[in-house]
């Protein structure tokens, strides 16, 4: 299905960075042309019912593992963007830890080519270092020239403080952002879950909170010294949150994302040794979960990012210490936020749409079409959310090629009803249209 000439979304409440108002939305040739109450729809127009729903800018995921190229049995650009669209996302930032890694112009162009016709916009995060090996800088200017705005060695942190400082200095000249997966290898190596009461009891090697926090502290110091922009990926501990809160109060240019599993699940979920609960950074105790939630409430966290990390079922049947870390996230993120966070929907949408769009450089001010206000002249990247609908997570019904959701059987409130990508309704009534 291609974009209809004319699309009218009727009966909803428009919510975006400018506020909320009862309005219908008319889209012609992919562009919003009218936002007003009581719009008529000609017989030729496609009409989407938004009664009882919120019409918002499409969600933007700062942290998606699409696995292609290299791990197509776990996910592809096609299956991953279908999951994204069903989750209300109109853009995802694809992480570079593919095989080969996204550390060259050729590999970035390849992902862009794979993403032609995908069900969500795919932005690429480039690697900071060649091969994500942490030894020498990737050609960041070449990648930036292709539109890459976020760089990260995600999956690993940049271990060398000296190299990270150099990368930040270099990045200042390019206007790009460096995303850090904070994990000090000398503290975390061999760890399989949060180091604490549960890991001690279960006899599993742990990753202490300090493994994350020492790198957060280090990179705050480096950001302060260089003026380079650091974005902290998936922060998971109370200590990390506190460091970021104080850094920002002191004017250091850092931003932070948190993942839904870190505000919904504790390390105790690993007690049955099911690797579906294995993730990096690991699930933490309740105090950390509470701190992550507080960070979303007080604005220390700028975004909710899924860290959608598909893994083939046979890999999640390995013993806990051998199974790869990671969880699906695209189709459950919004509902988990609605269900678990004590925040108005407009704040949740800010955390999932326009704030991450700015960090990714995909917002209108950054030259993109994501996360902007729903207004005449904007590109129609939209999601329509029913904030009161409930649904039960069924791993086999997810669009991902993998099944590793830790929320199987959970009933959640808040459902993505329609998703519109550049004027095309790619999801209608929670069904993917292609």
């Amino acid at each position: 299905m291609s974009a209809p000439h004319e699309l009218v979304i009727r009966g909803g409440t428009v919510v975006d960075a400018s506020g909320e108002r009862r309005a219908d939305v008319r889209v012609v040739d992919g562009e919003v042309v009218e936002v007003a109450e009581g719009l008529e729809a000609p017989g030729s127009a496609t009409v989407l019912d938004a009664g009882g729903c919120v019409v918002a800018p499409g969600l933007v995921d700062l942290h998606t593992h699409l696995r292609e190229p290299g791990r197509e049995e776990a996910e592809t650009v096609e299956s991953g963007t279908r999951a994204a669209a069903l989750g209300g996302f109109t853009a995802v930032v694809a992480m570079p830890n593919t095989d080969p890694p996204l550390d060259s112009a050729e590999s970035v162009r390849n992902v862009y080519a794979l993403a032609q016709g995908a069900m969500a916009q795919v932005a690429v995060a480039g690697a900071i270092t060649v091969g994500r090996a942490g030894e020498r800088l990737a050609p960041m200017a070449e990648l930036a020239a292709l539109g890459v705005h976020l760089f990260t060695d995600d999956g690993d942190g940049v271990q060398s403080a000296g190299l990270m400082r150099r990368a930040l200095q270099y990045a200042t000249g390019l206007g790009v952002v460096l995303g850090q997966h904070c994990e000090d290898r000398s503290l975390a190596a061999g760890g399989t879950m949060h180091e604490g009461a549960w890991s001690s009891r279960l006899g599993l090697p742990g990753m202490p909170s300090e493994a994350e926090e020492v790198m957060v502290a280090r990179d705050i110091a480096l950001a302060r010294a260089t003026g380079g922009r650091v974005h902290f990926l998936h922060l998971s501990t109370a200590g990390s949150i506190d460091l970021v809160r104080r850094a920002r109060a002191g004017g250091v240019p850092v931003t932070a994302e948190v993942a839904p599993h870190h505000f919904t699940l504790t390390d105790g979920y690993a007690s049955g040794y099911d690797p579906v609960f294995k993730v990096n950074p690991p699930l933490r105790p309740q105090d950390d979960v509470d701190a992550v939630k507080a960070a979303l409430v007080d604005g220390t966290a700028d975004a909710i990012a899924t860290d959608h990390a598909p893994h083939a079922p046979e890999l999640k049947d390995l013993p806990f210490d051998q199974a790869p870390p990671g969880m699906l996230g695209l189709q459950t993120a919004l509902a988990l936020a609605v269900t678990e966070l004590d925040l108005p929907l407009a704040r949740i949408l800010a955390l999932l749409s326009w704030q991450p769009a700015v960090i990714a450089g995909l917002d209108p001010a950054g030259g993109g079409t994501q996360g902007g206000t729903v207004a005449t002249g904007s590109v129609a990247n939209l999601c329509v959310v029913d904030p009161t609908a409930t649904w039960t997570v069924d791993p086999t019904a997810l669009a991902s090629r993998s099944r590793n959701t830790p929320y199987a059987g959970r009933t959640l409130t808040g459902r993505v009803r329609h998703t519109v990508l550049a004027g095309e309704p790619v999801v209608i009534d929670a069904e993917a249209q292609r």
């Binding site: 001690s200 009891r201 006899g203 049955g272 040794y273 099911d274 049947d317 390995l318 210490d321």
Partner: protein, 322 residues
């Protein structure tokens, strides 16, 4: 045979009553082991598989002897000689073995939690944990309890409780599945457990552990110890990096002849084996009458017979041990 669990995965699965039952049933089977023909029909027609994904001669022999003395058919499966080497997944291996038809699988694995996962995957098949990673080794703890009970006056009225017994566990507790099982087991029977180790060889958190004390000074606790259990420094798990040198470790934590003299006269010395003489225990200490290390091995067969019987057996114990 009240509330015996379907699987034995952890000492947490057994309450004091269930532990007492294992010890009493083991008494009957110990008697069987002393006969000229040490065999009873208790598990005739039942099939038991040992699945050892990690090398272990003594534990496997102990379990297989236990099963055979009860007339069970025993299949022996080791990772080195099996399809596991060809890349078969753990889950497929378990499903294959279950399709052949097993009443019990006895599993050892270097990864914590594998027996618990397997227990979720099987139907109508008891899973016995024969040691998983750093997590648990419940039959080792049970045979320690049996050995201690024997030395306290074996099977007499009141000896199924260890109230007031002072147990000291020394060594690499961090990486020890034996210690995790022992601590739960001794505490369940009322003993006071003290852990002695350098801080680097303790678990990162002891929150909620049923222990009386932690010490870094072995000499200070020896005089108040009724049972001392020594653990091997698990060099193959990288424990060597947790202390500066083996010499320094031994100087602080080995049970030397001089230290053994500080124990009360009735105290007994246990070691789950294999021992590294000269590192955690002096050779001459291992030979003392108070060292019950060989008894532990012998008792292991009777205790494992009891565990298999309680998991699989039907009918009365009187008939089973006859």
């Amino acid at each position: 045979m009240s509330h015996f669990p379907a699987h034995l995965l952890s000492m947490d699965d057994l309450d004091a009553d269930a532990i007492g039952e294992v010890l009493r049933v083991a008494d009957s089977f110990a008697e069987v082991g002393r006969r000229a023909n040490p065999k009873v029909p208790a598990l005739r027609g039942r099939t038991v598989a040992t699945l050892f994904f990690e090398d272990s001669t003594r534990t496997r022999m102990s379990f297989e002897t236990a099963a055979k003395r009860m007339s069970a058919d025993v299949l022996s499966f080791s990772a080195g000689s099996s399809s596991v080497k060809k890349g078969e997944s753990l889950r497929d291996t378990i499903e294959t073995i279950q399709a052949i038809g097993m009443d019990a699988v006895i599993i050892r694995h270097s990864s914590s939690g594998v027996p618990a996962r397997v227990a979720e995957w099987v139907d109508h098949c008891a899973v016995v944990n024969a040691g998983d990673g750093w997590h648990q080794h419940p039959t080792q703890a049970l045979l320690d309890l049996y050995t201690v009970r024997q030395s306290l006056g074996g099977g007499q009225e009141g000896t199924d409780r260890f109230d007031g017994l002072r147990v000291t566990i020394v060594g690499d507790i961090r990486h020890s599945r034996v210690a995790r099982s022992q601590i739960t087991a001794y505490a369940a029977l009322g003993a006071e457990v003290t852990l002695v180790a350098p801080a680097t060889l303790l678990p990162p958190s002891l929150d909620g552990w049923p222990i009386a004390a932690v010490s870094h000074d072995l000499d200070a606790v020896l005089g108040a110890t009724d049972v001392i259990s020594l653990l091997r420094l698990q060099a193959e798990r990288g424990s060597g990096a947790y202390v500066p040198t083996m010499r320094e470790y031994s100087a602080g934590y080995a049970l030397t002849a001089r230290r053994a003299l500080q124990l009360p006269p009735e105290a007994i010395i246990l070691h789950p084996g294999p021992m590294v003489r000269g590192v955690e225990i002096a050779s001459e200490v291992a030979e003392l009458p108070s060292a019950r290390i060989t008894d532990q091995v012998g008792n292991g067969v009777a205790v494992r017979m009891a565990v298999l019987f309680l998991l699989l057996g039907q009918g009365s114990l009187d008939g089973a041990a006859a």
